[in-house]
Amino acid sequence: MPELRYLDALNRAHHEEMARDERVVVLGEDVGAKGGVFGVTAGLLERFGEERVIDTPLAESAIVGCAIGMAINGLVPIAEIQFADFLHPAFDQIVSEAARMRYRSNGAFGCPLVIRVPYGGAHGTALYHSQCVEAFYAHVPGLKVVAPYTPYDAKGMLKAAVRDPDPVLFLEHKRLYRIVRGEVPEEDYEVPIGPAVVRRPGKHLSVFTYGWMLHETLRAAEMVQPEGIEVEVVEIRTLRPLDKLTILRSVAKTNKALVVYEDNRFCGYGAEIAALIAEEAFEELDGPVMRLGGPDVPAVPFARSLEEAWMPDADRIAQAIRRLARY
């Protein structure tokens, strides 16, 4: 089985889905000749032509709004927005239009489209190329929100998203593109939207996380292992719909829960997980449900010193784990 980078796995999924189904089209800024700002759509224009690989005007609301119309009239669009920070102009089209189409038409019109978005802080991406936007969208009924971590999941979940009858916001942490590698089968497979996955079994406490924070959490779990703390790490690779069962089972096993997320801590996605555990697993808990989130500043500052001060990392996660383990 070939080992691929995260972005190559996504690229494979695009090629395979476009070859499999001629209704699949890709649209966004620079998705054509350039192959996307991160290279995820490389080679598609040459292979599938301008009608199906659309370099759009620089207008995010139109990209999503036109994708909605395409989905209504028989195409299966994959819209790429260059950075999650630039998704805000399309917020209305995603929230009030795509996500609500089925409900407001009483089930008559569906809206099968995928919106792919690189998100999260990386090296020098600064205030407007590094935001975490998942909490805004996971809040919205009618929308599915996924954030796979492994290249295997990236390919399989993108395929699942393309084949899903509902709008899917597909979040790609931009640190994963070139750093994370993994085995990716050449054949067709789907990783279903929904199930969470235990990435590391443990018995003393559970950490629930996703995106780049999974990477840091797995490192933190290694760091505390010699201290006798066995951490269970659960990846929430689908943020909505949420796999509550896997979360509650893990809490029932370890009796302690820490939620780690990169977004601003206040009202961040982790708050929903924490509330779920507090409400539905109260009697299983041997300590407070804790959250480690990003600091409550607008986004990652550009200067190296500020960026390093900002980023939740393995050291901080290990500190939080030790604190929770002491209960």
């Binding site: 139109a62 195409l75 089209q93 009030s96």
Partner: protein, 351 residues
């Protein structure tokens, strides 16, 4: 030179039969009667809200008339009552949504009245956020072009909506990709209360077309036949693969914006009187009389038939069931509620 004594009527020159123009007039009458009924139902406390469009009927009938009713798409806005009737919605279907009944085909009672939708008739569901339907229409037209279906898309909006970013983004996208879409703007000079000169610094929406590389036409929307001529040309252009057209219809809004509005607060009596003098029903009725297709007897019969039809529709809609509260959670996703808790402690149905 001998005067041509057998000059054909204007509609004949446009390829419309006598039956066609009488049917067009019939739809305008039906829309007016239905509109009045919506207000009566609201004033009687049976409808919680209405938004209507007397004065827009002529433009709307002309707008949809050149379309293939089954194949082509219409993307409406909240005033598109007459247009939706021409596309194929029935008065009963309209009143089911006015009364928010379970069998309302637009939304099953989930949306306010005026949010017309019908997959059967290719009328796309819209939101209340003005302008968002424009990119949808472009996407539908793009798909029609790529899939080579031959479909044409007509989308409409008021002139206030042309200030929205989505409106401009959609026209720009459509101009680049030359999609088969006709962008209609029903300019009644008021966005609720904000007059045209505070909405835009140009006199006509149509001039904006130049910025998007497409023809822009401004037409008197109270002149049904001229409006039809413009729309027919735009549709033919779209079908030939020559791309989109922007059409401004200059119309009058004879009613307040909605049942929550009193237009006397911001429109002068002279302004309202001038608007009433341009009523497209009076004008088109006058044309039909001038060519011998209408007289008092026939006119009265047409109005009486429309009133009967609307009475019957009202009775049918009032008899229809209200939505079952148990359906509240349906149709959020295609699959039945993937994230509904197994033990619904968070959403507890009323006993």
């Amino acid at each position: 030179m001998t005067p041509e004594i057998t000059a054909k009527p204007q509609h004949t020159n446009l390829g419309l039969s006598d039956g066609d123009v009488l049917r067009m007039y019939g739809y305008m009458v039906l829309a007016r009667v239905l509109d009045e009924r919506m207000w009566q139902l609201q004033r009687a406390g049976k409808a919680r809200f209405v938004v209507s469009a007397p004065g827009h009927e002529g433009a709307q009938v002309a707008m949809v008339w050149p379309l293939d009713r089954e194949r082509d798409w219409f993307v409406p806005y909240y005033r598109s009552l007459a247009a939706c009737l021409v596309k194929g919605m029935t008065p009963t279907e309209i009143l089911l949504s006015v009364l928010a009944k379970a069998t309302d085909p637009s939304s099953g009672g989930r949306q306010m009245p005026g949010h017309y939708s019908s997959p059967r008739l290719r009328i796309l569901s819209g939101s209340s956020t003005v302008g968002t339907q424009y990119p949808h229409a472009v996407g539908i037209a793009y798909a029609a072009k790529v899939r080579r279906t031959g479909e044409v898309v007509v989308v409409s909006i008021g002139e206030g909506g042309t200030s929205e970013g989505d409106w401009h983004e959609a026209l720009n996208f459509a101009g680049v990709h030359r999609v088969p879409c006709i962008f209609c703007v029903e300019n009644n000079r008021y966005a609720i209360s904000v007059p045209l000169h505070k909405q835009m610094a140009v006199d006509s929406v149509a001039v904006r077309a130049a910025g998007y590389g497409m023809p822009g036409v401004s037409v008197d929307g109270c002149d049904v036949l001229e409006a039809y001529r413009v729309m027919r040309e735009a549709c033919e252009r779209a079908r030939r693969g020559e791309g989109p057209t922007l059409v401004e219809f200059r119309v009058e809004r004879l009613s307040p914006h909605s049942s929550e509005d009193q237009q006397e607060r911001y429109r002068s009596p002279e302004d309202l009187e001038a608007a009433r003098r341009r009523d497209p029903l009076v004008r088109f009725g006058g044309y039909l009389r001038s060519v011998g297709l209408l007289d008092d007897t026939r006119d009265q019969a047409l109005w009486a038939r429309a009133r009967r039809e609307v009475d019957e529709a009202t009775e049918a809609a009032e008899r229809a069931p209200d939505p079952d509260p148990a359906t509240l959670l349906r149709h959020v996703y295609h699959d039945p509620e993937p994230d509904r808790p197994a033990d619904p402690v968070y959403w507890i149905p009323r006993e």
